[in-house]
């Protein structure tokens, strides 16, 4: 299939799903109480976007996601580079990291609540905790992806440390680093959402879980659409960068 045909089929599929969302509840095939028709959800979506409390909740959630991201990514990257550069350190901690990986992080959420309460700090702390391990792993993978031959060639031509860093490490690591950004944002966002849904007084996660409990499904679906679109928008933005940077690497 050609590129334009692929895009056309994808658009057709999307329209089919959206059409089914509108038609099935209206025709009574599925209960409109359980799946409100798309048009109704979109009307509600327009209304809640104008509501002051929803805008405030979005601002709180965005701030939590941002602060946790700014803490977790540099810190995790530093630890990851250390464990890749120092063989002994890496040999000790890498298996432990793999082990921590398979553990459900959310089970520690009660500890964060006991220690930090249920405010802003707890959301940031928990989201940082749930993100940092993937950053450590990816950063050390990024360092290890630098080909030893390139380093050898650069060193034998007398490249300085700064030159090696700028000309070899950065271009080689760039695709993986961008991918790390993308995936750690997925983790980070999930962490904030779980924390907000679990125990909170503010944030979009808190709002959608309230709407669910009160069976306000049009509002619930509208909130889920907002969150899903935000998550996918960031993801696609970084993927676009990734595609541009991968041309550097032969």
């Amino acid at each position: 299939m050609s590129r334009s045909a692929v895009i056309l089929v994808r658009i057709a599929l999307l329209l089919a799903v959206l059409g089914a969302w509108e038609v099935l509840p209206r025709a009574g095939v599925v209960n409109p109480m359980l799946l409100p028709p798309l048009s109704q959800v979109l009307v509600v979506l327009g209304e809640i976007l104008k509501r002051g409390d929803f805008q405030e909740a979005m601002a709180v959630t965005a701030a939590e996601v941002l602060v946790a991201f700014v803490i977790a990514v540099p810190l995790g990257a530093l630890l990851g580079v250390l464990s890749a550069e120092n063989e002994y350190f890496g040999a000790i901690f890498k298996p432990m990291l793999f082990y921590v990986f398979s553990i459900p992080k959310s089970i520690f959420l009660p500890m964060f609540i006991l220690v930090f309460g249920i405010g802003f700090g707890q959301k940031v702390a928990y989201a940082t905790f749930s993100t940092i391990f993937i950053v450590i792993m990816s950063a050390s993978a990024a360092v290890e992806s630098v080909k030893a031959e390139y380093l050898l060639v650069a060193q034998s031509y007398g490249a300085t440390r700064a030159q090696i860093l700028r000309r070899i490490y950065v271009p080689s690591m760039m695709p993986i680093l961008l991918e790390t950004l993308r995936i750690s944002m997925i983790f980070n966002f999930t962490g904030v959402m779980i924390a907000e849904m679990y125990a909170s007084r503010t944030g979009v996660g808190h709002m959608i879980s309230n709407w669910g409990e009160n069976f306000m499904l049009p509002q619930l679906f509208a909130g889920v659409i907002v969150l899903a679109v935000a998550a996918m928008a960031f993801n696609e933005l970084v993927r676009y960068w990734e595609a541009r940077c991968s041309t550097w690497r032969g």
Binding site: M1, V9, R10, L34, Y88, A91, I92, M96, F101, S102, I103, P104, K105, S106, I107, F108, L109, P110, M111, I113, L114, V115, S130, M137, S138, A141, P175, I176, E179, T180, R182, I183, M185, I186, F187, F189, T190, M193, I194, M197, Y198, G205, I208, S209, W211, G212, E213, F215, L220, F221, G223, V224, L227, A231, M232, F234, N235, E236, E242, A243
Partner: protein, 271 residues
């Protein structure tokens, strides 16, 4: 002086953590509300063992069914998406985009649809585990060496023979990796959903005891969940070693960017 070997250091760190868990609250460095001593936690676990066992049974039942759904549907869809080139080009980027959505936001919808009983947990954890299984099955089918297929075809293998003798054995290692991650995610999905809205299961014990500030019982439930996920991990790794004999050398690793992202994305559990 010779440096101690990494496994020794790891064991020492583990031991130090256990001792700290006992000593730090006893010495009053942290209030017992934040961290109850290990001995107290284990004593509570022993005392209430029948409550924890009953909750564990509920959780295990939900995990088992969710895992069947996630792995069954995941392998099926993954095989189709990975095996048929036109569907792969069409759908794989779409699935990668959808993977960015924090799936936990769907849980309120599931509770509204299925109630707060086991059904909503099974549905949520099934969806949660589906993606890694599907993505790694698709990647596994794709990384099969073309030459195996060519050799089998030129010896006149039929399609069923090709599937049974070449495709399945060659994709088993990747599929098993997917099962390990997908299984871990279904466990997480069940526990998270039990913590959020529920009236039974281990996750419910965590939340219930947290709201009444009974820290030893919260930590006892945490120990049970950790034991569950570690036991599952050990079981699947044993299965992986057992099937390793089928895997022959020289498997080509695909290196396109969707593959790396599928590998990285599936190599972790977001919750």
């Amino acid at each position: 002086m010779k440096r101690p070997s990494p496994p020794t250091v790891r064991r020492l760190i583990g031991l130090a953590l256990l001792i700290a868990w006992e000593a730090v609250p006893r010495l009053g460095l942290l209030p017992e509300l934040f961290l109850p001593p290990l001995s107290k936690t284990l004593a509570v676990l022993w005392l209430d063992s029948y409550i924890y066992a009953a909750a564990l049974m509920v959780t295990l039942y939900e995990v088992a069914i969710a895992m069947l759904i996630a792995c069954g549907v995941g392998i099926l869809v993954g095989a189709v998406v990975g095996g048929v080139a036109s569907i792969r080009n069409l759908m794989l980027p779409v699935f990668s985009s959808l993977y960015a959505i924090p799936i936990v936001i769907l849980y309120p919808i599931f509770t509204a649809w299925f109630g707060i009983g086991s059904e909503s947990k099974i549905a949520f954890a099934g969806v949660y585990g589906f993606f890694p299984v599907m993505l790694s099955t698709a990647a596994g089918i794709r990384t099969i060496d073309e030459q195996y297929l060519l050799a089998a075809r030129s010896m006149g293998a039929t399609l069923p023979q090709l599937i049974a003798r070449v495709i399945i054995p060659a994709s088993i290692p990747t599929v098993l990796t997917g099962l390990r991650l997908g299984g871990a995610l279904t466990i997480i999905g069940v526990v998270v959903s039990e913590m959020l809205t529920s009236a039974s299961g281990i996750g419910y014990l965590v939340t219930m005891n947290r709201t009444i500030l009974d820290s030893p019982r919260v930590f006892a439930a945490i120990i049970v969940v950790l034991a569950l996920s570690v036991a599952f991990d050990i079981a699947v790794r044993a299965l992986e070693r057992y099937t390793m004999v089928w895997q022959s050398a020289g498997r080509r690793m695909a290196s396109s960017s969707t593959d790396t992202s599928a590998r990285l994305a599936t190599s972790a559990s977001a919750a």
